[in-house]
Each structure stands twice: as C-alpha cells, then as structure tokens.
C-alpha cells in the first residue's frame, strides 16, 4: 500500500527495495510519518521491521526506491540525517561501566554537543529516572532505566525524529506505561516517532498509525486521530491473519 508523498511528512519511504545477501528483504515498501506522529510498524519475526529502521539509518543501501528524512535524501545527506534522528536499538545497554550521566556526557561529546550538568539532570528528570541512580553504573540498571537514559540522551540531542526498535520488549507493565507516556509527550512536543514492534496491543495503545508488515511488504495500515482509538481487535485480527499466512507459506 503506497502512501502519497507529501511535503509535511518527516519520514518518507517510497517503493523501497532492500536486498541482503541476495535475498529480497524489503519489497517496494512505502509509508510516511508526519511531524508529531507516532507510527508503529507491526510485524512478526523476519517481516523486515529492523531492516526498515537500519535502512533509514543508512546501515543498508536500498537496491531501489526513495528514502527521505525531513525532505533530505538519506544517502546523499547521511550525516545531516543522522544528526536529526535518535535511534533506540532493542536492548540498548549503553555502556555498563559508566553511569547515566557519564554515558550521556560521552555520547554528547562524540556528537560534539555541549550541555551543562543542569541540562543533563533536567533531561534525566524529564524521563523520570530516579536521581539516586544517575551516578550508578548502568550494569545495575533495569532495561526500562536504560531506555530512559537513552531517551534522555535523545532529548538532549534535540533530535526531531525518533526511531525505536522494539522499545517495550522486556519491560514490565509499569515501565511500558511510563515509556508510552514519554513517547506521547515527545510526539506532543512535535517529534516524529517511528517504532517497530510485534506487540499489537502496545502499538495500539500509543500509535496514531499502524502499518502491518509481512515479508518486507506493507500489507495493511490502520489509522486514528487519537491513540487508543485504533481498533485493536481489527489490528489483532489482521496481524493474526498475516502471521497465519507467513506460517503457512
């Protein structure tokens, strides 16, 4: 299902084809994410979710198709595009031997961004990471706490686009709620969020739009003006149908 490319879209994926080791992983994939929108790309294992994110980040080179971030071609403006995106990999552990503050300082210094201690502490407060943990090494953190640290870093980088890879996988329900709230706040402040997940209910809770991915193709799209108004049953049924086809195949 192709989306019409509009200028207001921050992420524009048009007829994207990616081959890895001579296997077609993404097949003419098209979708777009508008400013302030949360788009969830839903799919089972091997559907091409992570490949989509990695292609947007420039880790994979498409064989054909167009890919633009904030109006700029990803491959000719890779550095600029990467500065505008905040990527949160699945199981982002950051550096376990460093504290949250040290991790943030290090990543910011590599991005050549200067932030004061107050600004760093402000970001950590905003993501609701307990202050007692700020100076503890991350090897004592839960996954949720590491996610918060990574989001605080993204906030400090003032990235307008967030690419989240299975962000709630392995989080407890409370942490998932906190995370969803944070993501909603980010979208409310104008950030565009593309998350890939296989969690149907989680996606329905937080996303404005859900794209259903199967074997590298977008096979369905569900949309609502407000999150939680997407028809969860319909999405679940469609997802189950897609999964059955994949299994049968």
């Amino acid at each position: 299902m192709a989306n019409k490319i509009q200028n207001s879209y921050v992420i524009e994926v048009d007829s994207l084809c990616v081959e890895i080791n001579q296997t077609s992983v993404l097949k003419s994939l098209s979708f777009s994410v508008a400013r302030g929108e949360i788009y969830a790309l839903l799919g089972g294992n091997g559907a091409g979710k992570s490949t989509t994110l990695k292609t947007i980040l420039g880790f994979h080179v498409p064989s054909s198709g167009k890919l633009k971030i904030d109006g700029q071609d990803v491959y000719s403006e890779l550095d600029t595009v990467r500065q505008k995106t905040a990527y949160l990999p699945e199981n982002a552990t950051l550096y376990p031997h460093l504290s949250a503050i040290e991790n943030i300082e290090y990543f910011l210094s590599l991005a050549e961004i200067a932030k004061s201690n107050e600004e760093i502490e402000g970001a950590l407060t905003r993501v609701a990471l307990q202050s007692a943990a700020w100076r503890r090494p991350l090897d004592s953190y839960s996954k949720g706490m590491r996610q918060k640290t990574a989001i605080a870093l993204a906030l400090l980088r003032s990235a307008p686009i967030f690419l989240l890879d299975e962000p709630t996988s392995g989080l407890d329900p409370v942490a998932i709620d906190e995370f969803n709230q944070l993501v909603s706040e980010l979208a409310g402040s104008g950030a565009s969020i593309l998350m890939v997940t296989h969690d149907v209910y989680g996606a329905c809770q937080v996303a404005n739009r859900i794209g259903l991915l199967r074997n590298g193709e977008l096979v369905g799209e569900f949309e609502a003006e407000q999150p939680e108004k997407i028809d969860t049953q319909a999405v679940h049924a469609a997802f189950a149908q897609v999964q059955t086809r994949v299994t049968a195949k």
Partner: protein, 482 residues
C-alpha cells in the same frame, strides 16, 4: 562516511582508558606487564653491564697471564693457549640473541679450533635452560598476549551492547571509533615499549648508535603496532567478545608459539647440517692424513725435509740454518688449519642457510620477522657470532704461527731435540718472553651500522608489510562492521 574529528577520536581514546582503568583484568594485566618488563630490562641491563666489564677484565687478565709467562719453549706456549672474549654489544641487554646459546669466549690453542664456551644457557641450571625472561622475549611473546588480554573486546563489546549502531546512528563514524580505540591500545603498547626505549637510550650511552637504537625500538613499535591492529581487526569482525578473544589467542599461538618452531624445524629439514660428533670424526680422519706436527720424522713431512735440504744445499736437518721441527710445526699448523677452516666454513654455511630459510617465515609470522631483526640490530645474530669465530680463528692461527716462527728462527734444532737431556738442556730450549707480546690487543667490535641495517632490511620490510596488510583489512572491516 563522516570525517574523522580529532576531538571525537580523543573522546573515544579517553573512554577506552576509562574502561580499562575500571576493569580489573585490564589494570591487572597492565600492572603485571609493566612490572615484568621494567624488572626484566633492569635485571638484564645490570647483568649485561657487569658482563661487559667482566669480559674486558678477563680479556685483559688472559692477555696479561700470557705475556707475563717467562722464557719458554715456543711450542709450550702454543699449548698454554689464550682466551678471546666477546664483549656483549650494548643492545644485548635487550636481546642476548644467539650469544646466550653459542657462548662468548673461546680458548685458543695450537692444532685445535675450540667451540665458544660460557654460554649462559649451558651454564645455567634447571628450568632457566629453557629460556630466560629477556626483554626481547617479553616484547616478542608476552607483550602481544598482554595487548590481546587488554584489547580483545575493543570493538566487539560495542557491537554486543549495541552501542556501535547507537554511535553510528548519531553520526559518529566507525573509523573514528577504530582510530580512537587503536590509539588507546597503541598507548598501552607504548607503555610496554617504554622500558625497552629507556634501555635503548642506556645502550646509546654504552656506545650504540642512535640509528640502530631508534631502528630497534621502531621495529618493536611496528611489531606491537601489528598486534594492536590485529586486535582491532578481529574485534571489529567478531560477533562477540568471546569469539574475538578465542580468535586472537589462536592467532597468538600460531604466530608466536607454533610458527617459530615450524620455521626452525623446516630449516633443519630443508638444509640439514652434519652433527658435531659426525663432523669431529670427519675432521679427525682428514687430520690423520696430514701427519703429526710434533714428530719431525713423520713420513708426511719427508717431502718438506727434502725440499729444505735442497734449498739450503745441506744433507741433514741438523745442518739447516733453521729449526726443522719448527718448520714442521708451522707447516702442519697451516695444513691442519686449512682442513679445520674448511669444515668450519661448511658448518657456518649450513647454519646460515638454515637461518636464511627460517627468516623467510617472517612472511608468515611477524614474530619470526622481529626475532631475526632484533638479533641483527642488537649485534647478537648468527652472522656476528660467525665473524667472532672467524676473527678469533685468525687470532689463533696468527699467534700459533708467530710462536712457530720463533720456534723456526730463535731456537736451534740441536737445542730443541736435546731439550730433555737435563736441566741445562731444558733451559737452553727456550725463546725470549718478548715473543709473547704479539697476543695483546684483541677486541671484538660489533658490526657497523650499515651492515646491521642491510642485514635487517628483510625483517623490516616483512614487519612493515604485515602492518600495511592489516591497515587495508581494517579499512575493509570498518565498512562491514555493522
């Protein structure tokens, strides 16, 4: 690919050091490694410094003992003999090379070419015979292991914790990471190299040239640079730190432990040399054909006797104006030395052939390349030892023939053959002690700078090539790191 910024590289460099300082393993390895290297350099430096002084003193004492001998029969002095010592070259404090096995002193006497003696490894007891902890051994074998233990996970742990994708996604180039981490591990290599560089400075104060000292430290720098690059390459390609560690240890075993043995075994198989016992028997057989130089009536000297009688137009040796027994001794020594030199030359050629074959394995192992280069530059290689043997043999031959000449010219044949007929005859069969003076002034000097550099150029090319190959591979690996 985003450009590499010096600021970012510095950040990565500092973070790597912060990681090591917080990691107990890295800091323990670094502490033990530094301590071991400093201790080894200090101990070897003291030992070699003492040895150099001791050898100077012993050379002097040996010469004094010889020249202070009273008037004697010249042939007694031929058998009294004399020691020639090889003073250890300044850089032998870092790499004793073949000297530890071949020996540094030779007893010079008539009719024999003795082997060098006082080899450290032969004199030592127990397990030290298996090899001492010389700085060269630490630099060639243990330092790479230290670098592996410290740096095996440099890039792989970034991949394992997904920080690699995280960093690249925020715009940091992989090559910034590789360069920063490479420089960090390079600084560890620098710390390991520091005692060697200090010792090389000390060697300069002992007379070593700046070019050689710089080349020596540079060669070790290139070698450790190879291990830094190999660590980077493997940890960039390996999917896990465990895999990276395993691969690096396997590489260390192959390159540092197995390959040098393969090199020497192959050299022995391709260019086999005759054993000492077998050679000794062959030498004895050859010498038997020459006749006994102590016996002027030996049939082997009949021709000599005849030619002298004809030359001086006399009918018996007693009428010759020279001492026939001295002439026999001199001719016998000359013929015997030719035979001995022929066997010695064969032996040296075989040994050199083996060494050259073994050195070709420097294309297969940088450890083999450095091992040869280190010995050549420090002046403790087989070539230098062969020159010591050649020079001491020349010294031996000259002193024996000088004594034989005194025997010919300064001692009458009559007095010589009657020397055992009482005290007075014994006293008459002597030459003046001033003849012993020709022994003085032997000093073995190290090969000059040019010779050592020329000999070491293959090793240097081999090491440089290893480093260049790894640089190309790292460039390739960096592009497929994600």
């Amino acid at each position: 690919m985003r450009g590499i910024s010096a600021f970012q590289v510095t950040c990565v460099f500092k973070d790597e050091w912060r990681y090591w300082l917080r990691s107990k393993l890295a800091i323990t390895v670094l502490a033990i490694g530094s301590l071991l290297t400093f201790a080894s350099v200090a101990m070897t430096a003291i030992y070699m410094h003492d040895l150099a002084h001791q050898r100077h003193a012993m050379q002097h004492a040996s010469e004094q003992a010889f020249v202070e001998q009273p008037d004697r029969h010249p042939h007694r002095m031929v058998h009294y003999g004399h020691y020639a010592f090889k003073t250890p070259p300044p850089l032998s404090l870092l790499d004793p090379g073949v000297d530890a096995y071949t020996g540094n002193a030779i007893f010079l006497e008539g009719h024999r070419q003795n082997s060098a003696t006082f080899a450290e490894q032969r004199q030592s007891t127990g397990l030290t015979k298996l090899g001492s902890l010389a700085p060269a051994f630490i630099g060639q074998v243990l330092a790479p292991l230290m670098l592996i233990l410290i740096g095996y996970s440099m890039m792989s742990r970034e991949r394992e914790s997904q920080t690699l994708a995280f960093l690249v996604a925020q715009g940091t180039s992989i090559f910034t990471l590789i360069l920063g981490k490479g420089l960090a591990l390079g600084s560890v290599a620098g710390l390991i190299l520091l005692p060697l560089a200090s010792a090389a400075l000390f060697a300069m104060s002992q007379g070593e040239s700046l070019v050689i000292a710089f080349s020596f430290v540079g060669a070790y720098g290139l070698y450790l640079g190879f291990w830094v690059l190999l660590g980077l390459l493997v940890s960039t390609l390996a999917s896990t730190s465990r895999a990276s560690f395993t691969l690096l240890v396997v590489a260390w075993i192959i390159l540092c432990v197995a390959m040098p043995r393969v090199a020497s075994t192959t050299a022995s198989a391709v260019a086999p040399s005759v054993g000492k016992l077998e050679t000794d028997f062959m030498v004895i057989n050859e010498l038997r054909k020459l006749g006994d130089g102590h016996n002027a009536n030996d049939p082997a000297f009949k021709k000599l006797k005849q030619s002298l009688l004809e030359k001086y137009k006399v009918d018996k040796v007693e009428a010759l104006p020279i001492n026939f027994r001295g002439v026999v001794a001199s001719q016998s020594e000359g013929q015997l030395t030719q035979v001995l030199n022929r066997f010695a030359h064969q032996q040296m050629t075989q040994e050199l052939q083996q060494v050259r074959i073994a050195r070709q394995f420097g294309w297969a192992s940088p450890k083999v390349a450095l091992h040869a280069l280190s010995m050549v530059l420090s002046g403790t290689s087989l070539e230098t030892h062969h020159r010591f043997l050649t020079e001491t043999e020349a010294l031996r031959f000259n002193f024996v023939q000088s004594l034989n000449q005194a025997h010919v010219e300064q001692l009458s044949y009559q007095d010589d053959i009657n020397r055992n007929k009482g005290d007075e005859a014994w006293q008459k069969a002597r030459v003046d002690a001033s003849n012993w003076q020709m022994i003085q002034g032997f000093e073995f000097t190290i090969d000059n700078v040019k010779t050592r550099l020329v000999r070491g150029q293959t090793g240097l090319v081999q090491l440089t090539l290893w480093v260049l190959v790894l640089l190309v591979l790292i460039r390739w690996a960096g592009r497929r790191a994600l």
